[in-house]
Structures are given as C-alpha cells and as structure tokens.
Amino acid sequence: MKPCTPTPPQIMERRGLNMKILALNGSFRKNGNTEILLKQALMGAETEGAKVEILRLTDYRIGPCRGCALCLFRENVCQVQDDDVRFIFSKVDECDGMILGAPCYFLELTAVVKQLIDRCWILGHKIGKVEKPATVIVPYATRGWIPYVSFQSTLLLNLMGLTKINEITICTQGISEVVLDQEAMDLAYDLGKEIALAIRAKDFTYHGDLGICPSCHDRLVRILQDNETIECPTCGVRGNLSVKDGKISAQFEGKAWAQSRFRPDVQYNHFTYHIAPSKDYFLRTKEERKIKTEKYKEYLKT
C-alpha cells in the first residue's frame, strides 16, 4: 500500500484545509435550537475542508465592563483579568471565519452577547485588523418579536473586526424542535458551506436580504428631529424616506457610506477625537469633581 504523503501547506491553503471556523453560541441551553443550528452549519463548513470549533459563551466567565477606561487610556490594558474574555478573543483571533448563534427571547439577543459587546473596548478600532467573514444564526419563537437582533450581531462582529456576510432567523420554539424543520436545517448547513467558500475565495460579499441600510442591511430606521432625515441607528448612515404608489422607499445618498460608523476611518476618528481626548478633560476637572462628588460618597452607601 502506498504511504500517505503529507499535503504541502500551499495546497492545503488553496483547498481551504487550513481554515478554521469558530462558532460562538450565545444560548445557555445544551443541545438547544441554537446549538443544533450552529453544529449543522459547522457540518456544512467541514464538507468544504474547514476545521471547526464551537464555544458556548455561558460556559465561560464574561464579566461586565467596569468602565475604567484603562483600555483606552493606557492602551490595551483591561482591568478585568479574572475571567475568560481574553481567551474568547484569542479564539476569534485564531479563526478565519466565525458563526455567531444566539436566540432572541425579548426583541434582542441574549444578555451574554451584550456583555461581550461591552468588553470589546479593548479591541479598539478596526485599522490593522485582518478582515474575516462572519455569519449569524438567530432562532426565535414569535414572528415580529425580533426587531433588534440584527443590529446587535452587526455591532459585535464589527467590533471584533469581522464582516457579516449573511444572517438567518429561524422561527422555532421548544428545545431541539428545530430538527423537525428540514428547511431551517438545510439553510444552516448551506450557511456553513457559504462561509467556508467565502474564506477560500476571500470574497466577503453580503449574501443575505439586502434590507434597507446600504451598509448593514438592517431594516431599522430612525427618524431624526427635523422630520426630514432618516438614519440607520446601527451604522449612522443618513438618507430620506419617500412614498410612491403606497410604497415606502428609503434613499441614501452616495456619500452615506462615508458616514458609516463601521468604516475604519470613521471608527478611527471616533476613538481618536471623541474618546481619547476625554482624558485631558477628565484630568483638568479632577479637583472640581472631587469637591462636587463628596456628598454622594456616604449617601445611601452600599
């Protein structure tokens, strides 16, 4: 029998055999719908040669951001050292693509996802980060009760330096019931294949519903106080609404994309001009704050 010769690294890479896909599970339930759908997607990714891994976020300690701002002012120092967030971020760093799964209970994703979003300060802005694709799976129970799920996943993925290439929401309820919905299972499987193919082709084009916002594709719209301008609350891109033949249409100017808060230069400006200089103001007002906060120290002390 002919001995098996190892495949050279270049060929491994070309075939996608070195790619790692990480699934982050934002559900506490073991073998619940989120976990099943994520595993189904990972099985799809494996058929394209990906190495796969899944982490259940609730198995890890993810403490709240303490708002100390050391990560901003001392650069990359997080005061919370006694939890597992650094480990989770290192796993995201190692992977070539990610699948985020989280159920929607009350209009938005589970709290553990928000907890992780708040800890993303340490990751800073996107400049210099390697671009990677990500995709999202959200099981939910009642149609119409998921308005804020897309914005949360967009936010987390962008802060982590990932580009969302697709997102699916699956209507399913009781534990593991999703296996009865073959269409949902097929969608998840294809989603896994899709992200593996995207990594291989280095093509991070968005494949999901194009929605309203030209940047994040969500359908949320905020009407500003002038009652003339609309804004995507997630990205900050602005445009106008019109109604023609009974159809609502949102128009975003060509320059709208230039305002997206997820563009590297816009993120850079935010950190550089809105966040970092607050240190100067903070230090200048030290004495005044000290005097004025005195009466709150003992009042209703906990």
């Binding site: 002012f73 650069e75 400049i127 500003l224 106080q225 002038d226 301008t229 590297p264 230069d265 816009v266 850079y268 400006n269 935010h270 550089t272 001009y273 809105h274 970092a276 200089p277 607050s278 240190k279 100067d280 103001y281």
Partner: protein
C-alpha cells in the same frame, strides 16, 4: 447687558459638510452676530489614512475646526446657533463647547437636544 459667547469644536468627520468661511460670513451678516473660525490641523498621512495621536494632548491642540460666535442678543445668538446646527449638525462630545462663557454654553447646549441633528 449679558454677553453670549460660544465655541463649537468640530473634530474630523463631525460636520455634515465642509465648513467654509464664506458660509460663516453669510451667517454673520444674516444674524448680526460676530463669528470667527479657526482650523487646527495636526494629522499626518500614514498607511493611506490621516492619523494623529491625541491621547495625551490638550483638547485645544488636537485637529479640529472651531466656530466661535458672540452676541449681546439672546434671540439672534440662538437663531444663528440653530442655523449652524442645521448646516453642520451640533458638535458631539461633552467637551466640544470648551472655551464658551456660561451664558453662551447654556444656550448652545440646550439647542443641541432639539436642533442638534442627532
């Protein structure tokens, strides 16, 4: 007589459109207020992006555009601020009115909530 004086500090990317001195002159004339404009530019191109280290800098020294306006008339002062906010949006940070006097700051801050464009 109360003097109203406000400094609106816009950082890179903040104004909705380019701040032109000719536009500010028109505002000055229309609202009969005094307006001055200062541009501080300390950014340098690095890796194709305009970059600047701001962490340990004084707020007044980092790249920004400052529109300073003053008047002894509350009404025209307020109307001019609303017009500026409509054109450029209001400045964004808690320290973006630094250098204003109390009377001017109070008005500029109050108008941000209603007319700031955010």
């Amino acid at each position: 007589m109360t003097m109203y004086f406000a400094k609106l500090r816009y950082y890179p990317g903040d104004p909705l459109e380019e701040i032109r001195e000719s536009d500010l002159k028109s505002f000055e004339k229309e609202y009969r207020v005094k307006i001055s404009y200062e541009k501080i530019e300390n950014r340098e191109t690095k890796d194709g992006l305009l970059m600047e280290r701001t962490l340990d800098k004084r707020i007044e020294d980092i790249s920004q555009e400052v529109i300073a306006l003053s008047s002894d008339q509350e009404d025209t002062f307020s109307k001019c601020i609303i017009a500026l906010y409509k054109k450029y949006r209001s400045p964004r940070t808690p320290y973006s009115l630094m250098g204003s006097n109390d009377a001017g700051q109070k008005i500029a801050k109050k108008l941000m909530n209603r007319h700031g464009g955010w």
